[in-house]
Amino acid sequence: MNFVDAIIQYEFLQKALITSVMVGIICGVIGCFIILRGMALMGDAISHAVLPGVAISYMLGINFFFGAVASGVLTSIAIGFVSQNSRLKNDTSIGIMFTSAFAAGIILITFMKSSTDLYHILFGNVLAVRPSDMWVTLGIGLLVITVVYFFYKELLVTSFDPTMASAYGLSTKLIHYLLMTMLTMVTVASLQTVGIVLVVAMLITPAATAYLLTDRLTLMIYLASGFGAVAAFIGLYFSFTYNLSSGATIVLVSTVMFIAVFLMSPKYGFIQRFIRSRKIRSLEGEM
């Protein structure tokens, strides 16, 4: 059956599509700030760190959203605490804390139920999205977009020039933890679509693709969320048509878009760079 017909016919596929497109959009939005702040590793860390929270929520029988946000935020506070109160560099502290949280999560999940749950949390299973999951994702998406809209100024200045931000009295720490909270929520929203392991790809790859195309942050955010949404749509098509893991197909589609832009971006592309350096060399040759 044709993908479009299937979408019209099957409700589960509609939910899968809506959920993954929303995930693509919000990952793109938050991803822009993550890459501009040089926090790609932090994105990877926080996404892994939600695992123990998810496991504990299942045990307590509450929505995994709450547990996940709590363990993500706690891990980011622990990372900050260790790097500020020791001579360790931030990436070392990140490496210690998120692997610990992830390991604890794996043990908690094995206590819990069958291993298929762990597999779905790690790699996502978008075709099994329940209506409640879709609404959680849409709710998180709306919240994240609203927060970014209202705190855009603060997010911009703390990313671009944190020294000036604190000089005029803005708490860069507060904005940092606000961003970490949103990062955790985006991870939670992405659990079923791409899974914990691959969330970081959806955060970084569409944002990086957009970064190679524009010099305006607002446009970068629109482009990144556009790329995220398109990757989600096309990825879901491949996942459905060829019965492949949805997380993996969505990520690979965004990688293909990145490679295309990396090569062909009019200003920052590899080919353009190559031509420019050839030109300069030939000009030097004439002189």
Binding site: Y152, K153, F160, D161, T163, A167, G169, D215, R216
Partner: protein, 248 residues
Amino acid sequence: MSTVLSVNDLNVSYLGNQALTGISFDLDQGSLAGIIGPNGAGKSTLIKSMIGLIPSDQGNVRILGESVNKIRRRIAYVPQRNDIDWDFPIHVLDAVLIGTYPSLGLFKKPRKKDREWAYECLRRVGMHDFSNRQIGELSGGQQQRVFLARALAQKAELFFLDEPFVGVDIQSEETIIQILKELQSEGKTILVVHHDLSKANVYFDELVLLNKELIAKGKVSDVLSSKLISKAYGNPLAFMNEREVNQL
């Protein structure tokens, strides 16, 4: 002239090392003062701890008669050029527009009049033709002028600049110093961290000479006496050529 800034017995340590000890000095309104001293003298540390970017161990700083936290929005701070990510996706005008953020407050977005004001500040430093360039496409001097424009956009009463003349072309240097002098004549107070002694007498009226402690503070000609300089630098001619020494 009234005192706008007073530093009392300021002590700052950095990772267990004493960076500044017992710094005390006052600055009058309308001063254009330079902070000078050898590498590692704690010049940037002084300026940063004065505005509370680095915590101090002891002592206090009063600006406009208040503690710094109360009057932050009346201060403009221009960071060192190498503290900035010049690949950031932002255009020149938008970078200047950030100068209006402190007075906008939470949730408010800059409006048309704020953009016009930012453009006006950009014109004042002679960079309005570049308003749609990405900031990394500018030369070092042009970048510094853009950041000065951002400080102007803040409509501050005190200006703190950290090494604004490093890696700057002559035209930019002249523009910057001319604007600092204009600000001074408008009654603003300006404190500039400066890396060497050459031209200190052209740029500034007053100097704060530093080497982990305060060596001297006063009129440029008094501070540049070779005895004080040798106390700070260990060598009286360290950063001057012969002609400049003769001029003193």
